[in-house]
Amino acid sequence: MSVERIKAQGSEAVGGQSAPPPSIELPAIELKAISKSFGPVKANQNVDLKVLPGTIHGIIGENGAGKSTLMSILYGFYEADSGEILINGQKKKIHSSRDAISFGIGMVHQHFMLVETFTVLENVMLGAEGAPLLNKSSQTAREELLKLSKEYSLAVDPDAMTGDLPVGLQQRVEILKALYRGAEILILDEPTGVLTPQETDQLFKILNILRSRGVSIILITHKLQEIMAITDRVSVMRAGTMVSERETSATSKNELAELMVGRKVLLEVDKTDANPGEILLDAKNLSYREDGVTKLDDVSITLHAGEIVGIAGVSGNGQTELLAALSGICPLQTGSIDIGPVQITSKNHKNPKEFRELSVGHVPEDRHRMGMVTAFNAQETAIMGFHEDPAYNGKVLMDNKAVQEHCTRLMQDYDVRPEDPKLKSANFSGGNQQKLVLAREMDRRPEVLLVGQPTRGVDIGAIEFIHKNLIAMRDAGSAILVVSVELEEIMSLSDRILVMFEGRIVGEVAGKDADARQLGLLMGNAGTQSKTSSEQQNNNNTTHSEEIPA
């Protein structure tokens, strides 16, 4: 392990922020040689980490690099096999979350640890109620909560039902929960995954305030731009080890990406202007209702040969239903889809198989649920949906040799590793699973390709590969629809961007002119009339209980 530790920490000003010279201060947290194994998997090996008080320390790494495990150890979810934890210079043993909380460590988890049927106040109190009876303690908790809200500008209504709040506010409740327990060290695990760009800005403002009040923050993320935007220092993890530590102002996205992956990575997608041809798919006035809720509201989309259309939006605004409608998974209720000479309507339904025969490929958003059967081996995954093709079948039995050869070829062409057609699909990493599913769909050269979350849970190296292949397919004349919650991905891939909000398409922007702020406003639907924009209202309201879409 090569830890390029920057030795003389005292000689550097930290991030140029309010932090006093660190030379006289003990680190808020110091991890020494932490190791943790799960069976044969070494999740953390000899990991060292120093977080200085009053700073924001980023930890970046690919999926499976061991970031979450390390933080779980710090928060008492797991115990390390070996190594030491020092908090404010004192050696501590953390056996449980209770210990961690008592040492002033708070954590905001990627998936919020909130009880949705509780009020904000109840959630904040849970586990720190004080007395056995609630009457009195909820009164003091309310006062304390309002005091914290004011002190850190974290406005939230204590009596609002937590499940009704937009995610940005739910996250705020999580932060308040930690502060209520007296956290001086706050760990945030992938905090921006579920936020719109505006909510992310808001979160960063909050983090800046916390830092200025002396809270030490550990920010775990795989997004390079967030590291650059907010942290003072950054540690890079790869394959369970800490490979490097940098001062944020002295590094760059490219350097960090290279450290993360272990080789040079091209971050920007390299593509020429689109050259749109004929219309390959023309969907008109699609509406879809489920259990009385409108999921798609009069959506029309045209896909041309040789272009990539991106759908931006906070997840849950109809993107899933749109993909389901365009791939034949959900029968149409109203509207029509023209694919070449064939028209599909509510009366003339076609199933996903028939859609495939019309040359529509589909890479589902959730590969574990819809893209593959994780218990099947790779070669079975590689033909799913096309398994009735005579090429893979003998007279009665499947032609396993042909299937295996097909899979081997796909694995070579699409760089799926390990190159073992017999390996269970579940045992591939996220990126390789995705490459296998993409290979299955792309190898057929469909005229129209629908891709949901092309790089969710996929490493940077594989992202680069997937993007390159999608562009190549576009240049070969396919029409591609990309749905992604990663705004950056949409912006770098798409020739045209459509923004979805509450089942409608609320805006269209040319890929070249796209700008994150403008798209973010459309995603929160702040561009139009009186509909709520969570961000603008949150700035100055304490009584928050309006009907923001969940």
């Binding site: 449980s96 979350s97 909380i101 640890m113 949705e116 849970l126 586990g127 056995p132 609630l134 303690s137």
Partner: protein, 324 residues
């Protein structure tokens, strides 16, 4: 008029008596299920407790010692359920079913071996039963027309366990909504991870919940064999645990609606007894079997028709596994 009034009162009176074990079991179910543990073993705990109460009361001659035995038996079964579902993360329905089968078989076998009466226990009398309590002032108040009559006929004159059953409802409500324990219990049924990350033990919390369920079922069982009846009879719970479960679900896992649902079932049962052999104008005599089947038919209808609308605790039925 007076006759109808008295008839109504006596029907309501038997409604209280019939619904008492349902209410206790429904509250037991609320404690268990709000903490995330499905409790179809209400039936088995009820039956086993009824047997223990009658058997121990018959030997010791004390209803209270019988009650204690019933509670211990029921809590042991609850712990068995907890051991399977909480510690070993087993399937909660399967474990519950196993307990029901165990109770059904064990009571008959042990009863046969100990008392040689074909599964029955000896008939209890005197202190070995919970006898009706006349509430203070009943004699005096009976002079007052209307209200006094209600007090004497309806409210006074039940055994201790009936009063405990109906007291259990406000206590359950208070425990769930007004105490730290209740807050945590409701949280663990919705999102156990939130509880775990708040530094509270999910396992211990859930064990406490099933133990409380065990205590309440124990009281209900003692009521069946030493209060309502004077002996244990084979399969005497007759599905009341399931009916209580249905009532609890129909009451959306809340104490007061759960109580009302139990009383609805109790009322139907009381009506069934009352209408035996009575000819209704225009319809004629309703077959007893039809009336007796009514609570069960209602259970099916209510569950089929309303279970979709009732929102169960989110984490119900799912064993808690620590995740990264």
């Amino acid at each position: 008029m007076d006759d109808v009034f008295l008839l109504l009162l006596s029907t309501l009176d038997s409604t209280l008596r019939v619904s008492a074990p349902l209410v206790l079991c429904a509250m037991a179910g609320i404690f268990s299920e709000r903490s995330g543990i499905i409790d179809i073993s209400l039936e088995g705990k009820l039956l086993a407790a009824a047997f223990s109460a009658a058997a121990v009361a018959a030997i010791s001659g004390s209803a209270f010692i019988g009650l204690g035995a019933a509670i211990i038996t029921s809590v042991l079964m609850a712990l068995l359920h907890g051991f399977a579902c909480i510690t070993h993360r087993g399937n909660q329905v399967v474990s519950g079913l196993a307990i029901n089968i165990l109770a059904s078989g064990l009571t008959v076998t042990l009863g046969g071996a100990w008392f040689h009466k074909g599964g029955q226990t000896p008939t209890l009398s005197g202190d070995a039963r919970f006898s009706p309590i006349t509430l203070p002032g009943a004699d005096f108040l009976s002079e007052i027309p209307f209200l006094g009559t209600i007090y004497v006929e309806l409210i006074s004159g039940h055994n201790l366990l009936v009063y405990i059953a109906f007291l259990a409802v406000p206590i359950t409500w208070w425990a769930l909504y007004k105490t730290r324990f209740g807050l945590r219990l409701r949280a663990v049924g919705e999102n156990p991870q939130a509880v775990d990350t708040a530094g509270i033990s999910v396992t211990f919390l859930r064990y406490r919940s099933v133990i409380i369920a065990g205590i309440l079922c124990g009281i209900a069982g003692a009521y069946l064999s030493t209060g309502q009846n004077a002996a244990f009879g084979k399969e005497m719970s007759a599905g009341q645990g399931y009916i209580a479960l249905a009532a609890m679900i129909f009451g959306k896992w809340k104490p007061v609606p759960g109580l009302l649902a139990c009383m609805l079932f109790g009322f139907l049962d009381a009506m069934a007894v009352r209408l035996q052999g009575v000819a209704i104008p225009g319809i004629g005599e309703i077959p007893v079997q039809f009336m007796q089947a009514l609570p069960y038919v209602l259970t099916v209808i209510l569950l089929a028709g309303f279970i979709g609308k009732a929102v169960a605790p989110k984490a119900i039925g799912r064993p808690y596994v620590k995740e990264r």
